[in-house]
């Protein structure tokens, strides 16, 4: 049974006022997770990175208040696929990609590991903030079990998952009869959002590229003695430009990238919801075409109808939660970028001022007056 009694209770909670709930979450955060300390592990067959996952919690479901385990990327993948299986129409935060396609990024390159570590940290924290997912048994096991391998073997087998996929394909071929209006709108939004966020991501990458080329040219300013003042100014500007590029790469790019992946998650969620509805519709039609009343089939259809309703409610509830989160996350990333840019220009202005002073070898009164006047304005 995918839905436990406790998770059904939580679904009820989603229909309450969103604001209040999020405020409660902030005040009553009872679980803190960090991902750090990447270490290389070498075996006969492979080399991989293990991350330390540290959990501190006051929740009663946990036997202890502190846990420390080591997990590898594959373990995270396992957790996420379990969560998606159990909650097919909840929006489960995406994981960082398996490997980076563009450019030559070594799997064990320090920057790559650090970027991944940050994303994994964010993933676990997003799960812990989710009102339903955070109480998942798999999540608890992930955070607490010293050895994950035994737990990985349990759960729906490979064959049953195969069956689901086959049914899903069959249903999508058949097509959906009555998709509720709101989900159609949602689908359209997801398509558009996906395009837009990808565009913003591309533009940002392009900006970084242009900034890097600008930085290269700045670095080639080779000025002799009489222009030493100018040279120092250029050096200062180079340093600031480097920091600006770094900030973009460490703040804006990861945030945008996360939501590019989210868009894909949303598409998958929409598909799964459609499949659930399609399955119900198929069985329902089969029922209608049978002349003698089939009790077993009727029960099956009723079960599937319930499943559809639960799935739709889960999605509806999670949808507004997700939108709020997206707005908060991206807003904060953009604000941070704007602040960094203001800071950049302030510092560069100072370097230019210093250069003007050193060029004159004294404070040229007219120039100084002009600058101060502008400051006052």
């Amino acid at each position: 049974m995918p839905n436990s009694p406790s998770s059904m209770v939580n679904q009820y909670r989603l229909e309450e006022d969103e604001e209040e709930e999020q405020q409660q979450d902030a005040d009553t955060k009872d679980i803190f997770i960090t991902v750090d300390n990447p270490e290389s592990h070498v075996t006969a067959i492979e080399t991989f990175i293990m991350y330390r996952v540290l959990t501190k919690t006051t929740r009663s479901e946990f036997d202890s208040s502190e846990y420390e385990v080591r997990r590898r990327y594959q373990d995270f993948l396992w957790l996420r696929s379990r969560l998606e299986e159990n909650h097919p129409t909840l929006i489960v935060h995406p994981l960082p990609e398996k490997f980076v396609m563009k450019g030559m990024v070594e799997r064990f390159n320090d920057d790559f590991i650090e970027t991944r570590r940050k994303a994994l940290h964010r993933f676990l924290n997003k799960i812990s903030e989710h009102p339903i997912l955070s109480y998942s048994q798999h999540f608890k096991v992930f955070l607490t079990a010293q050895e994950l391998t035994s737990h990985k073997k349990q759960g729906p087998g490979f064959l049953s998952r195969m069956g689901e996929t086959v049914r899903a394909v069959a249903n999508s071929v058949r097509g959906l009869r009555n998709r509720p209006e709101e989900f159609t709108l949602m689908q359209e939004y997801v398509e558009d959002f996906s395009n837009k966020i990808c565009s913003v991501d591309k533009v940002t990458q392009r900006i970084i590229k242009e900034q890097r080329e600008y930085l290269d040219e700045l670095k080639q300013y080779d000025l002799a003695e009489p222009l030493k003042g100018v040279a120092r100014c250029v050096e200062g500007c180079s340093k600031e430009t480097e920091e600006q590029i770094q900030h973009l790469s460490e703040v804006l790019v990861p945030a945008l990238h996360e939501y590019v992946l989210c868009a894909e998650t949303l598409k998958a969620v929409m598909r799964r919801r459609d499949n659930i509805q399609a399955e119900f519709e198929a069985k329902n039609e089969a029922l209608a075409s049978r002349k003698p009343e089939n009790q077993e089939l009727q029960e099956e259809v009723d079960g599937l109808a319930d499943r559809v309703e639960l799935a739709n409610n889960a999605l509806k509830g999670d949808w507004s939660r997700w939108q709020k989160g997206m707005r908060t996350d991206l807003k904060s990333a953009f604000i941070s970028t704007a602040e960094k840019n203001v800071d950049y220009y302030e510092k560069v202005a100072l370097y230019r001022l210093a250069s003007a002073c050193s060029t004159t070898q004294l404070w040229s009164t007219e120039a100084a007056e002009w600058i101060f006047q502008e400051e006052i304005d």
Partner: protein, 361 residues
């Protein structure tokens, strides 16, 4: 065609001059006043361009900048203590027609030093005034520093243009994205407008920068004018040395002829082979030599005067030039820095505004 507006009574207020006529005027001035650091003309063709800026000579922006440069040239010449009194300059500013003929009539082209002679002098001269050699060295440095700076600036400008323009894409995408969002829509859209403004601002910034680049270019070309004065010194000095040398050798010949012992010479050989020459012939030769020596002494006097006058007058003008240059370059660099600071302020403005929009998201 460049219009030159000049207010000189009772002459007409403005007349038309081609770039080539400016070139002719300058050539005339350089030949006529070889001890003056003659102000340079703006470039004929656009150089040190960053690639987004048109390198087309017909481009209106380039034509306008060249016009400003020509105006500046005339201002410099007209305010020069020596050059401003020149008649040909006056005609240039007042007579639209027939000016060219008047210039050619001065025959200045005949007085121009051959490039080859000048080059030869540079290599073979012995005693040059140290101050001039230092000036020459300085002019090389000036040229190399300014051209370095100009080249680097052009490349950097190119890159900066790219950075700004890409931000324009944010404008477009934010606008499209705002259409599908409810709460974020307004904030995104207005942020997008600021990004558009940011992207557009680089055009004005770089155009203004070009103005300062032009000021630097003027001194790049001034370096050549300075070098020309130094070369003239080398030439006059060299000619003096040659004349002195020539005089010495003629005097020596007279010595030998007078004392009757001609050292190794053609005449000496022919004497040995064909017998001594007649006394009348010797007298004739001696007389000729005396004439040549007298001419030679005049020549040396002239050359000495020429050389000394050049040194004196050139030194005065080089001092004037140095003062002017220090003042101009300092001002240009300060103005450039001030302009850059104002550009930073605009940047601060745009991103502060963008931040306000993001806060409203």
């Amino acid at each position: 065609m460049d219009a030159v507006a000049e207010g000189r009574n009772p002459a007409p207020d403005s007349l038309w001059r081609r770039y080539s006529e400016f070139e002719l005027l300058r050539s005339y001035l350089v030949v006529t006043y070889p001890y003056i650091v003659v102000p340079p003309l703006p470039e004929k063709r656009a150089e040190f361009v960053w690639h987004k800026l048109s390198a087309d000579n017909m481009d209106p922006d380039f034509v306008e900048r060249r016009r400003v440069g020509l105006e500046n040239f005339l201002l410099r010449v007209a305010s020069h203590p020596v050059l401003s009194n020149d008649k040909i300059l006056y005609h240039f500013l007042t007579e639209e027609h027939g000016w060219k003929e008047v210039v050619y009539e001065t025959g200045f082209q005949a007085k121009a030093d051959s490039r080859l002679r000048a080059l030869s002098a540079t290599f073979r001269v012995r005693n040059t005034d140290k101050r001039f050699m230092d000036m020459k060295h300085y002019s090389d440095e000036l040229q190399s520093h300014t051209s370095q700076l100009l080249r680097a600036r052009a490349r950097v400008a190119d890159r900066l243009y790219g950075v700004f323009k890409v931000h324009g894409n944010y404008g477009r995408v934010f606008s499209e994205w705002s259409a599908i969002e409810k709460e974020m829509g307004d904030g995104l859209q207005s942020a997008g407008h600021h990004m558009d403004a940011y992207a557009a601002s680089i055009d004005d910034i770089l155009e203004e920068e070009e103005h300062y680049a032009d000021q630097l270019k003027e001194y790049l070309f001034y370096a050549e004018a300075l070098r020309a004065v130094c070369r003239k010194h080398e030439l006059t000095q060299f000619e003096l040395e040659m004349a002195s040398q020539d005089l010495i050798s003629k005097k020596q010949q007279r010595e030998e002829l007078a004392t009757g012992c001609e050292r190794f010479s053609f005449k000496g050989m022919t004497n040995k082979l064909f017998g001594q020459e007649a006394p009348e012939q010797r007298e004739a030769r001696l007389k000729l030599l005396e004439e040549l020596i007298a001419e030679g002494e005049e020549a040396v006097k002239e050359k000495t005067v020429e050389c000394e006058e050049h040194v004196e007058r050139a030194w005065v003008d080089m001092q004037r030039f140095e003062e002017q240059k220090d003042k101009d370059l300092r001002e240009a660099l300060i103005n450039y820095a001030v302009m850059q600071i104002s550009m930073c302020k605009k940047g601060i403005q745009v991103w502060s505004n963008a931040k306000e929009c993001f806060l409203k998201m």
